[in-house]
Amino acid sequence: MSFKNEASWDRIARVALGVVLIYLGFSGTVDGGFGTFLGILGFVPLITGLVGWCPLYAVLNFRTNDDAVKSETAGV
């Protein structure tokens, strides 16, 4: 039932990456269709970072906020 599958560092990295891509698209640093594509693409990591849930992680059954699992499997 817990939906978050990203650690805080992962979320902040996604937000930063998203903002950079959005800036490149919106500022005209990268112009043309590719710039527009980058600007729109940037919202994907931005939103997944803000929400803390990545659909790709969910499909692959992967998560970065797995510190509890690591502790248990290490026998700590």
Binding site: M1, K4, S8, V19, I22, F26, G28, V69
Partner: protein
């Protein structure tokens, strides 16, 4: 909520599932903090996989969910993992019967939203400016600030 009516002592109900990673990550801190507040606040752990009807009756939509109960009535609920400091604040608030000052969102959420909002607004200012980005960023940062102040 009739299910909570029997909890006349200040109580924190934790709804969890064994497979929930965030629940398992929070559990050691929760147990430690609960032990420290044992005389003032009861901790009730509800496994939603063993008692799905009770979890449904409590309208639980995600785990971990912490439900603060005073005089048998729910006074607040908090969804998501909390740090030990946040749990300490939460138990103290439940013991005092006043959870108004406890933020309903976790500190990590507010941090990500705040940083994201500031970065987005900054990128908007640098990109033109693009006022739609500035507005979105300011709104996001403002919301994070509001959740920090208003709880």
């Amino acid at each position: 909520m009739s299910d909570l009516a029997s909890y006349t002592h200040p109580t924190l109900v934790e709804v969890m599932t064994p497979r929930c990673v965030e629940c398992r990550a929070m559990q050691p801190d929760l147990d430690t903090v609960a032990e420290g507040h044992r005389d003032m606040v009861d901790l009730v752990v509800l496994d939603a996989t063993k008692e799905p009807e009770r979890a449904a009756a409590l309208r639980v939509r995600g785990t971990p969910t912490l439900i603060a109960v005073k005089d048998g009535v729910e006074i607040a609920r908090f969804v998501g993992r909390r740090s030990r400091t946040e749990l300490d604040e939460l138990f103290a608030a439940v013991a005092a019967g006043d959870t108004d000052d406890v933020a309903s969102t976790s500190r990590s959420d507010r941090l990500v939203w705040g940083v994201g909002g500031i970065l987005l607004a900054g990128a908007g200012l640098l990109a033109g400016p693009s006022w739609i980005l500035v507005l979105m960023g300011a709104g996001l940062a403002g919301y994070a600030l509001l959740r920090s102040v208003a709880g």
